[in-house]
């Protein structure tokens, strides 16, 4: 009896193995399917996603000033640029830059005075301070990245220009972000 109890190989090895393999494979599928809800619950929830777009009245932002609004938990810079700031940015369109971009590509046509950017340094996520740095754009206090008046990276460790959010003008001085 002892021999039979511990016997591990009998006749028809293939059919037996198939059942064990099928059971274990099914178990693996089950585990994989169970893991998904536990990962998916970490994605943004319904109420978070619902707040993903905001409408902002920008009529009170005077030239040379910027408005900072909170969008998706991050600051968005709405900068009303002076003609001099626009000219400075356009002049440098073809300068040697880490992340080349023209000034026109960073604003909406006919709305060149409005520069709307996500106010998060592309280096490690700090919020650059307004109107400081060598180019009069922004200067990031954390590690010294310098952005110009089009939000392009000019000096320092940041790899990319300040990001543009999805936005559109819903009126002359009304903008919908997201």
């Amino acid at each position: 009896m002892a021999e039979t109890a511990h016997e591990t190989h009998g006749e028809e090895p293939h059919r037996r193995d198939f059942i064990h393999i099928a059971a274990m494979a099914t178990g693996a599928v089950g585990v994989a399917a169970t893991v998904w809800p536990f990962i998916d619950q970490m994605n943004p929830s319904g109420d978070t996603l619902a707040l993903a777009s905001i409408e902002q009245d920008i009529s009170k932002v005077t030239p040379g000033q910027q408005l900072v609004v909170l969008w998706r938990g991050k600051p968005v810079f709405v900068r009303h640029r002076t003609p001099a700031e626009i000219a400075a940015a356009v002049k440098d369109d073809h300068a040697d830059m880490r992340d080349p971009a023209t000034d026109a590509s960073r604003t909406k046509p006919g709305k060149q005075e409005w520069l709307i950017l996500i106010g998060v340094c592309t280096h490690l996520g700090c919020v650059p301070s307004f109107g400081t740095g060598d180019y009069g754009g922004w200067f990031c206090p954390c590690h010294g990245s310098v952005y110009d008046t089009a939000g392009r990276i000019r000096k320092g460790p940041a790899p990319k220009n300040l990001e543009l959010p999805d936005y559109e003008f819903t009126g002359p001085t009304k903008v919908k972000i997201g």
Binding site: A2, P37, D40, Q41, M42, S45, G46, T48
Partner: protein, 444 residues
């Protein structure tokens, strides 16, 4: 039985690890090659089922804690946020909420199995006591977890249970009040109470996991009991845990999960109370407050006595009985399979406990057997729920304090087989191993 290890490291890494941290050896000896009686029936699969329950509760609980807010003003809404807006949040919460019930269902079967087959007897007393500690921790965890959604039942459950301790004022004046105030962190159950309950509800499951580790350790020293209650005498009484019991446990776990899933997906509120969907309101108590089903027998014992202190003491004694059990049962025979009288008393005990659970869910004055009619109100009078609770509670205690101690001295038991293998061997016992006729007292 926990003799020498059969682990043989196969790769050079395993050999390297084995002399530094023999964790693979431990896993091999406890879960792979552990010699397990070959006659374990399905009642023995509930240990594995309970392990799965604990893992499910901890994993889903961790996830819920990512979204839950332990604040009296926000808790109810944060639970609804989980139910409505968190991706798959409804599923995870319903698994956790019903998981508590499933956990208790499994633990009651597990305890009943231990009672029937005498698994608490020498040399497994520590194993049994650790199990009782786990059960206590489970009750504390479940109670505090039920408070967290901060509905009406949560709130008044917390109010009633914390007020139990005020009964101790009768023993030492001031002590009961001090304990309740200290539990509340205020003048009543409030935000401070909710916060500390959340903290402890998060902590206790890990303590349960720790005691489960000790419970398994204490199991592997004497090895499993088995339906005959006869000690393992030779290698031929056992099979290696893997694959024999891994696959049997897996099958049982899956059947259990079918039941579990039915509740989660098709009747998720069946074991809950509608009143707990109403946010906690300290100004209004729901008309009929009852604890969760798994506490109902104890609730019935509490209400069976008109005296507050005695009721509370009796309720705690009902649990204390389990702790004393290894020294209350005097029978030399472990398994009730060979104790025909004890088997009847056991069945009545199970029925009494279920009956107490039924009583716990009823109003104390509900009439079970109508005898007459009240002259004024016309309501039927007779044998009420509270009277039935008294009869059943008396039996509950008598089972532990009279039946088990006395029965072992007087009962006539059936012949106990010499070895586990004997009952299943063909007539004549063809391959009876030599030296397997040691006396049953050898282990004691």
């Amino acid at each position: 039985m926990s003799g020498h290890s059969t682990y043989e490291p196969k790769t050079s890494f395993e050999r390297w690890l084995d002399v530094r941290l023999p964790i693979l050896r431990m896993a091999h000896d406890t879960a792979i090659d552990f010699p397990t009686p070959k006659n374990l029936n399905y009642w023995w699969t509930f240990g594995g089922i309970l392990a799965v329950c604990l893992v499910i509760q901890i994993v889903t609980g961790l996830v819920l804690a990512m979204h839950y807010v332990a604040n009296a003003g926000l808790a109810f809404n944060s639970v609804e946020h989980i139910m409505r807006d968190v991706n798959h949040g409804w599923m995870i919460r319903y698994i956790h909420a019903n998981g508590a019930s499933m956990f208790f269902l499994a633990v009651y079967v597990h305890i009943a199995r231990g009672l029937y087959y005498g698994s608490y007897k020498a040399p497994r007393e520590i194993l049994w006591l650790l199990g009782c500690v786990i059960y206590l921790l489970m009750m504390a965890t479940a109670f505090m977890g039920y408070v967290l959604p901060w509905g009406q039942m949560s709130y008044y459950g917390a109010v009633v249970i914390t007020n139990l301790f005020s009964a101790f004022d009768r023993l030492i004046p001031g002590v009961g009040t001090a304990i309740t105030t200290w539990l509340w962190g205020g003048f009543a159950v409030d935000n401070a109470t909710l916060n500390r309950f959340f903290s402890l509800h998060y902590l206790l499951p890990f303590m349960i996991a720790g005691v489960v580790g000790l419970h398994i350790w204490a199991l592997h020293v004497p090895g499993n009991n088995n339906p005959t209650g006869v000690d393992v005498k030779s290698k031929e009484d056992t099979v290696p845990f893997h694959p024999y019991y891994t696959v049997k446990d897996a099958f049982a776990i899956l059947v259990f999960l079918l039941l579990f899933s039915w509740f989660v997906f098709f009747a998720p509120e069946a074991l809950g109370h509608a009143d707990n969907q109403v946010p906690a309101n300290p100004l209004v108590t729901p008309i009929h407050i009852v604890p969760e089903w798994y506490f109902l027998p104890f609730y019935a014992i509490l209400r069976a006595v008109p005296d507050k202190l005695i009721g509370v003491l009796l309720m705690f004694s009902a649990i204390a009985m389990l702790f004393l059990l290894p020294w209350l049962d005097t029978s030399k025979v472990r398994s009730m399979r060979y104790r025909p009288m004890a088997r009847w008393f056991f069945l009545i005990f199970i029925a009494a406990t279920l009956g107490l659970g039924w009583c716990g869910g009823k109003l104390p004055d509900d009439v079970v057997i109508a005898v007459g009619q009240d002259a004024v109100s016309g309501e039927p009078t007779g044998f009420t729920v509270v009277m039935l609770s008294r009869v059943l509670a008396t039996y509950y205690f008598a089972y532990f304090l009279l039946v088990l101690p006395l029965l072992g001295l007087f009962e006539k038991t059936l012949a106990v087989p010499d070895t586990i293998s004997t009952p299943v061997l063909p007539k004549g016992g063809a391959s009876m191993p030599t030296g397997a006729t040691a006396s049953p007292e050898k282990k004691g």
